[in-house]
Amino acid sequence: MKQFLLVLLAVVPLGAQIRITGLEGLEAKAKSSVEVGLDPAMLKLAGGIFKNGGADGTKAKALIDNLKAVTVRSFEFAQEGQYKIEDLAKIREQLRAPGWSKIVGVNEKQGRELTEIYTKSEQGKMAGVVIIAAEPKELTVVVIEGNIDLEAVAQLRGQFGIPNIPIPFESKKGGKE
């Protein structure tokens, strides 16, 4: 029994962090790229900056305080076809682990455009989110570990330099989902 448990723990790394792998080498092909990697210590430091930032700062601090790790890889290409959807296979493979579920999956242009949102739940609470946005000239993967309020993040439009771009059809549908 003990051996079985040890084997199980080795095979299924429960709560393992999602790693953005398989995208090595894209940076050289990209026109521009962004890499963000924040561990709990860095997030704590960042949260301290917003302590005295007024209402917006409080909102941002509340968001950050619940996060454990944030990793972002984003690439913008000058031309199409600089990456393949298959490059995302290693990331998507990890998201088949227990606890993760796909809440949004939009596949367009015969599989050349892919948009997916995965969430992880632990004890009924959001424990992580992964966003994969693959467009012909742009590829973005966001991995957030921790309790994150997606609606609050989406509502950051117009604050902290996030452009307030109106979303088509939003008002017609009554706004937020």
Partner: protein, 101 residues
């Protein structure tokens, strides 16, 4: 010359010259030491400078971290809104799109 003669020559009495006693007395007076208050002040100044440098370093790290967080949240927010727009577009009937509603 034999050894005895040499020793006698070497150990013969000599006049030490004027002011010998004063020189001896001066050599026995303890040297002036740096007061402990000066050391304490130097240490305190170094400590304060060290703390200030560390604070500045930590502040810069925090600023850099907050910039990174905001960049990550900005990208996340943008992508969430792109997804939202796509989902809303998929849910919107074709006739509504043509009417531009």
């Amino acid at each position: 010359m034999n050894l005895e003669t040499e020793l006698k020559a070497a150990l013969r009495r000599q006049n030490p010259g004027p002011g010998f006693a004063n020189r001896v007395v001066a050599a026995t007076v303890p040297r002036r030491r740096t007061p402990i208050a000066v050391w304490a002040a130097t240490m305190a100044a170094m400590l304060v400078a060290g703390i200030a440098i560390n604070n500045e370093y930590q502040h810069r790290r925090a600023e850099r971290a907050s910039e990174q967080v905001m960049l990550a949240l900005r990208i996340t927010s943008e992508k969430l809104n792109v997804v939202r727009a796509k989902v809303l577009k998929l849910e919107t009937p074709e006739e509504d799109l043509e009417k531009g509603n």
